[in-house]
């Protein structure tokens, strides 16, 4: 039972990191993106490949995957960030499909649909995070660090500029801020943080395949922050806890697993629709997408 | 006035969000007359026109059209009821030809087909006839405004509300437009209300009556002659 709860907490920490990463983009910069799972996957695969194929330590592979994810984010942001919001969404959609396609089809590198099994647990100077309690400590610490970084960012001048851009681009322009630069930086940071979650995920489950990083995962992450609320700090936290704990609790009510996955997604879908109509700022958020 | 009152707005308080631009203005429009609304920036001229047409809902006050209370009614309903609203700048459908643009009101309301308005519109705007099959997107500013007005006329409206129709035009076109307004009153029998911030002499040259607004209030109402003799115009613009 304890193991189960710790497992949930590890997943919650991973998703908290993802939620913060997307919240920075959606709730603070006002950019809607469906590519988050793509960066999540990039983080997972890059750190895994560095660890397994090049024998590099997880804790060095981690910053490498963050940087690579940030660089790859430029492929999307530089051409499309100046376009209107709905065009930008289309571009992120394209990017997400491409990442998935590359992960799925570049079999010689990623083993495609077969996935990569046997990923070693992270090793820090001899301390192996081999069991769930220790992994919880690792993921918990990383999630907390991300939380601190996130909070620092939103309270800093950078964060306030982002908020200004979100609220009124024209006014922010008038204040002389280079909007494009800020948006690109924000997008890159968001990608980098998502990569952290990916590396954590890979090291935890010790097996990755492309299906964990599909458009459905992107929509799932987006749902979490939309349900919980965007544009502030507590919104995503509420969202992650709700979205992860409630279905687990429902599981004890005995829905057969095969339709549970579909039923769960149906409920998310319905929730999204209802929230968008009645309460776009989510349960605990601030931003209403105006 | 021997003509009937066709439009009346009483004590309108209206504005955007929390700012009430109009502080209680009243205005009247009679059949077959041209009324000019003038005043400095921020007076509320555009706000008033938009409120009459229904784009803005007034916080208080009433609007009557053809004797009927239309306060708060949807713009498209007013449009179907005989109000022609000219959008500032002269909007047209740039992807359709001039001819297609003019026929749009007929596609919206099939009954208009019987009216054969096209010939009358072309006689009013001979410039448009030669541009008949050109895409509206390539028209010059002046041509576009003519077309915008032409489309409105194809609706067979009873009154025209023109949201600052002349300031963005080149001088030749300004004069042309003013001429058309005159023709619309005399030959078509329309009642027209328009507003202008500059080009006061031109506005006064075609108006039967003029209202002067300042900071959301009506400062003057009367004929252009009475206005020229008094001081109200200077007071509105320069105090």
């Amino acid at each position: 039972m304890m193991t189960y709860i710790l497992h949930l907490l590890v997943m919650i920490s991973i998703y908290l990191i993802l939620a913060f990463s997307l919240n920075l983009l959606v709730g603070y910069t006002g950019l809607l993106s469906v590519a988050q799972a793509g960066f999540y996957g990039i983080g997972a695969y890059i750190s895994t490949l560095f660890v397994m194929k090049l024998g590099i330590n997880f804790f060095i592979a981690l910053p490498i995957s963050i940087i690579l994810a940030m660089c790859l984010s430029l492929l999307v942001s530089v051409p499309s960030i100046r376009l209107k919001g709905d065009y930008f969404i289309l571009a992120t959609l394209g990017f997400q499909a491409v990442i998935y396609g590359v992960l799925y089809n570049w079999v010689s590198l990623t083993r495609g649909p077969y996935g990569i099994p046997g990923i070693p647990r992270p090793n820090f100077f001899g301390i192996e995070f081999g069991n769930i309690p220790s992994y919880f400590i690792l993921s918990g610490i990383l999630a907390f660090l991300v939380f601190l970084i996130f909070r620092q960012m939103v309270l800093s001048p950078f964060g306030r500029t982002l908020k200004a851009i979100r609220e009124d681009e024209m006014a922010a322009l008038g204040l002389g801020k280079n909007i494009t630069k800020f948006k690109i930086i924000s997008f890159a940071i968001s990608a980098g943080i998502a990569a952290i979650a990916g590396a954590l995920y890979a090291g935890y489950i010790t097996y990755i395949d492309p299906t964990s990083f599909s458009i459905y995962e992107s929509i799932f992450i987006l749902s979490m922050i939309i349900i919980g609320g965007t544009g502030n700090i507590k919104g995503p936290v509420v969202g992650v806890f709700l979205v992860i704990i409630v279905p687990e609790a429902l599981r004890f009510l005995g829905l057969p697993d095969s339709i549970a996955a579909n039923a769960r997604q149906m409920i998310y879908g319905l929730l999204l629709v209802i929230l968008m109509y009645f309460r776009p700022q989510g349960i605990a958020g601030e931003y209403k997408f105006e | 006035m021997n003509n009937q009152k066709i439009l009346e707005a009483k004590e309108i308080v209206a504005g955007y969000n929390k700012k009430m631009v109009l502080q209680g203005v009243s205005i009247e429009l009679y059949e077959k007359e041209v009324v000019a609304l003038i005043g400095p920036n921020g007076a509320g001229k555009s706000t008033l026109i938009k409120t009459v047409f229904g784009i803005l809902k007034p916080k208080s006050g009433k609007i009557f059209f053809k004797g009927e209370d239309i306060t708060g009614r949807e713009p498209y309903k007013n449009s179907l009821n005989g109000m022609g609203y000219f959008i500032q700048g002269g909007e047209v459908f740039t992807n359709l030809t001039v001819m297609e643009n003019l026929l749009i009101p007929q596609y919206i309301d099939k009954k208009l087909e019987r009216e054969n308005l096209l010939d009358e519109v072309f006689s009013l705007f001979p410039e448009l006839k030669s541009l008949n099959d050109k895409r509206a997107g390539i028209l010059s500013g002046g041509e576009r405004q003519m077309l915008a007005l032409g489309i409105l006329l194809m609706k067979k409206p009873e009154i025209l509300l023109l949201d600052e129709p002349i300031s963005k035009l080149a001088p030749i076109w300004k004069n042309k437009f003013i001429e058309k307004i005159k023709e619309l009153k005399e030959k078509w029998g329309l009642s027209i209300i328009f507003w202008a911030e500059q080009d006061i002499p031109k506005a006064l040259s075609v108006a039967d009556r003029v209202y002067v607004m300042k900071l959301g209030k009506m400062e003057f109402c009367g004929t252009p002659e009475e206005l020229r003799q008094g001081k109200k115009l200077e007071e509105a613009y320069f105090k």
Binding site: L83, G101, L222, I259 | E91, I104
Partner: protein, 292 residues
């Protein structure tokens, strides 16, 4: 061989073009990113499967019923979701997220009802025909003919009919349309009906071709998104051009490189377009301000 690849690419483009045309029509007229378009596509495909295979209705009736279901589904999204949001002046992001919600709901409903595995309608090898050195399957020929007929009818309707002009007017200048008294609600319904019909036709063609699973909707949406960006949204036909280009690119890539590079190349082309000509191929020159 080149001719075969080009033929395959163009025919794939035919199917893409129909669903992309529907998406582009809806997007251009209502500014809604109708993600649920993919769900309409999927639903029509599964409806065909259900009527034809599950309960063995005659072919013609199955097709008609499937098309009706798809079209009605699309119209419902407008009636019950998009139009109410439009009346509340909801920003595009909200409609998009709600659209994703509908997609999730419908696609998973279909998965629950029919299962997640691939379903085939026409099993086994197909009859093939030869034209001028190219080999085409019967389905490919059907796809081509359907596309040509549907596109012609659509084109004539849009260019020549009163309703078509009303739709084009609405998509060009909604403010003016309202001011002139256009019944926006009805026109939007028509647009969603047409667009969903197109998506349904496309879904049926795909169902007949390679088989279906609950996720085909997303590939369709991806195609729509790319086609619209490449082809431009100034006129609906832009999406068609984009779709054909996509079909060609994909097939040429498979031939010259290999399947794994399809998406990467597609995306590379997409990036080029976004960088150099964000208004797409067929648009009239737009200023950057108008799309950013």
């Amino acid at each position: 061989m080149t001719l075969q690849v080009i033929a395959n690419g163009l025919i794939a483009g035919c199917v893409y073009a129909l669903v992309a045309l529907g998406f582009g029509l809806i997007y251009k007229t209502t500014r809604i990113l109708h993600f649920a378009h993919g769900a309409v596509y999927t639903a029509a495909a599964y409806a065909l499967y259900f009527f034809l295979i599950s309960i063995s209705f005659p072919v013609f009736i199955s097709i008609v019923l499937a098309l009706i279901i798809g079209t009605l589904l699309g119209i419902s999204t407008e009636t019950f979701l998009y139009y109410p949001l439009h009346r509340k002046k909801a920003p595009y992001a909200i409609s998009f997220i709600a659209s994703m919600g509908i997609y999730l709901f419908l696609v998973n409903l279909i998965a629950m009802l029919f299962g997640n595995e691939v379903k085939i309608i026409q099993p086994g090898l197909e009859k093939t025909y030869q034209f001028a050195g190219i080999i085409l399957t019967r389905t490919q020929i059907i796809e081509t003919i359907v596309f040509v007929v549907v596109f012609l009818v659509f084109y004539i309707f849009m260019k020549k009919s009163g309703l078509g002009r009303l739709i084009r007017a609405l998509s060009n200048n909604p403010e003016l349309a309202t001011v002139l008294g256009m019944n926006i609600r009805k026109t939007r319904l028509l647009v969603f009906g047409l667009g969903s019909l197109l998506a349904s036709i496309s879904g049926l063609l795909v169902a007949l071709d390679i088989g279906i699973d609950p996720n085909i909707g997303f590939s369709a949406v991806f195609v729509c998104a790319v086609a619209v960006i490449i082809g431009g949204i100034d006129i609906f036909e832009g999406a068609v051009l984009g779709a054909f280009l996509l079909g060609l690119i994909q097939n040429i890539t498979i031939w010259k490189l290999s399947a794994r590079w399809q998406e990467a190349i597609t995306f590379g082309i997409l990036i080029l377009f976004l960088l150099l000509r964000p208004q797409g191929i067929l648009s009239y020159k737009k200023r950057m301000e108008e799309i950013s």
